[in-house]
Amino acid sequence: MATNLTSKKILIIEDNASMRETIIHILGSLGARFLITAETGANAMTAMKIDKFDIVLCDYNLLGEKTGQQVLDDARHLKLLPVSAIFIMVTGENRMELVLSAIDNKPDDYLIKPISKDQLSSRIERCVARKNYLASIENEIDSGNFYQALYHCKQLLQSDNNMRLHLLKVQADLSIKIGDFKAAEKIYEDILYERELPWARLGLGIVAFYLGDYDQAIQTFKDLIVQYPAMMEAYDWLVTAHESQGNDDHALSLLNLAVALSPMSLSRQKKLALLANKTDNLAIAEKAYSAAIKLGKNSVRKSPADYAGLAKVYLKYNAPDEALRIVNQLNFQFQNDPEAKLSSALLETEIHTTKGNKFLAQKAYEKAFILNQQFSNKLSRELRLNMAKAFYINGNKNACDEILNDLIKTNIDDKSFIKDIVKLCDTIIGENHAIMLIKEVRKEFSEINNYGVNLFNKGNIKGALEVFENVISQRPDNKAAILNMLRIMIHELKISGPDPEKIIKAQFYINKAIEIDMPHNQISRLQTELNTLQ
């Protein structure tokens, strides 16, 4: 076996001492010199923060607080693993039972205990070869350069037959990412013509969803679930499709099913909790929030919002004492987190009001007021919206409008959040209040945009760029500003000749444009122009 691990940094996460010895022994005989071991998930996280590992071997059933899957989820969440790193999950179980639980992040490979030297070495060798082969694509994806990744993908497909199907899958995924749905559709159809493969069928459903053919998409996802009852992605997409059709009840019952199949998925529990809360299915919301809190407890993804959500459910149940108990837990779990502090102060205000304790309610409100002044720029927008509501209810209309204005300005391009703002204003302040604020903000921005375009038309490129840079710094997701910015930058590059720094900057804005779902035909034209300038 050709595997030589001399130059590789390897982390072994295993709680069983003798198993650890066995693995160290095997790796040693394959030449490994840089070996770090961790007995618990927490120690593993620390190790990965200190060193960048090439290979991680992780036991699935770790004793203590974190499972192997949580180690992987957290490591990916915190970006502790380089793109080139290999993560192998070692399990005592059969792989099939684990695949279900591994939803948020999949390891590069699974190994079933007991491990032999030959097995370990051939798996590592295979993973390394696969990573190396795909490196050019993965690196571009990691930097958000989807057009370049697509280019490398096509190159590999042309050069040989190695991993053809996987490359086609990546090519279709990337085509969806840049919004070229027709290209993705063609790839999936070609594959399905050769052979019925579930992921290609799913892809076709996703394409139908993006092209607005919701009936077709929903039917495809439904068929897949009947045929492959454990295909979690099909559930997730069906939920999304129902949600986008405004059919929250359908979405909720499906998501509930999916959670029953994969109770260990934190992100799915969180999503279920939010949806159940929104549709006033309090029993489901209570269960899902509790599960999310339990799953998140030892994870970097634990969040004050889950505690706040559960406390709110208890308030809706008219059980203020239960709510208060959760708020105390929230305070205990997040001692120095401004978001948690403000969140609990707001909840306390509501709880004490419910209990008729005006004095305590007033005290809690004052606490929230001060925290808001101290940390306003560090708080999540959802919490700030709650704060605006509290201001309004307590008669501080100016402070309320100040927050609303700011939230509208920074989120004007996020339709669903703007909808939340409008909904809140409609229920507590009155119709039209939010609409007026939004109109003003839109007018102000359109005037600035016009001003920038005018400067450009008069030949003042530098001035125009400054204007748009300023707009984007305030509204990072504004399509018109990004599009204008890109057009001017490319125009400037054409006149003044290639400049690597400016090209990188333009690429950054193109990636940004993809991220905010700008239409494919607009971006691809700009990308092509930029490519000819390099």
Binding site: N16, S18, M19, E21, T22, G92, E93, N94, R95, M96, V99, K113, P114, S116, K117, D118, Q119, S122, R126, N161, R164, L165, H166, R195, E196, L197, P198, W199, Q227, Y228, P229, A230
Partner: protein
């Protein structure tokens, strides 16, 4: 007395036994570390038998789930060579203590659409059997034959007994207590082969005594 639902009872017993077996294997691994090299061959044998039991139990569970329509294979494109390599790696323990030669033959570029875990597991059990009945060698190979990928296991033993020669494996398992061979491995492989379909074509298996080494030959056809 209430009627006993034997299949459910067996399935839950298998789960229990599998857990115990897991604990047993962990203990074995600990025991192995106590002994200095060279380790006693009994240990390897113990490991091997525990592994075999685990494979059998896993096959029973899969068959149980198929019977309840709770199981669907995860079919994707895999390199046939990788599947063979996995089988060899898993068999390496046994190989190192017997003097049997396991030869593999496969075009490196040969691709195969299958559930690689299932197929690997099935081939492992059958190679395992072949090793018990052969004289000196077993050959594991994969080739393309028309619209099928064919995995073959050939040995130089006495060949299959009459009752295990190809016909219809839906009749299996034929329980032959005298030889200790129940044909479970063949039955399992045949069942999962049929789950692999492409258009009108389905997977199947054949058994005969036409091995190029004069013994038994098993073939698995996947569309």
């Amino acid at each position: 007395m209430l009627p006993i639902d034997f299949s459910a009872l067996l399935a839950s017993s298998i789960h229990d036994i599998k857990n115990s077996l897991g604990a047993l294997r962990a203990l074995l691994a600990q025991l192995e570390n106590i002994y200095p090299d060279p380790k006693p061959t009994e240990l390897k044998h113990l490991n091997f038998e525990a592994n075999r039991m685990n494979n059998n139990l896993m096959q029973l569970l899969v068959l149980y789930k198929i019977d309840l329509s709770q199981f669907s294979p995860t079919i994707d494109e895999h390199r046939a060579g990788d599947i063979l390599e996995d089988v060899v790696a898993q068999q390496s323990t046994l190989l190192s203590l017997s003097n049997i030669e396991l030869i593999t033959q496969c075009d490196n570029e040969l691709l195969c659409y299958c559930d690689n875990t299932l197929i690997g597991n099935a081939l492992c059990t059958l190679v395992n059997n072949a090793q018990r009945y052969c004289q000196t060698k077993v050959m594991l190979s994969a080739v393309q034959e028309d619209d099928y990928i064919v995995f073959s296991i050939e040995d130089d033993g006495d060949g299959y007994p009459e009752n295990l020669i190809s016909s219809d494996y839906k009749q299996l398992p034929i329980i032959d207590l005298a030889s200790g061979n129940t044909g479970l491995g063949l039955f399992f492989t045949d069942t999962i082969a049929k789950l692999h379909a492409q258009g009108e074509k389905r997977g199947f298996i054949t058994t005969d005594n036409d091995s190029q080494f004069g013994g038994a030959r098993f073939r698995l056809y996947l569309p």
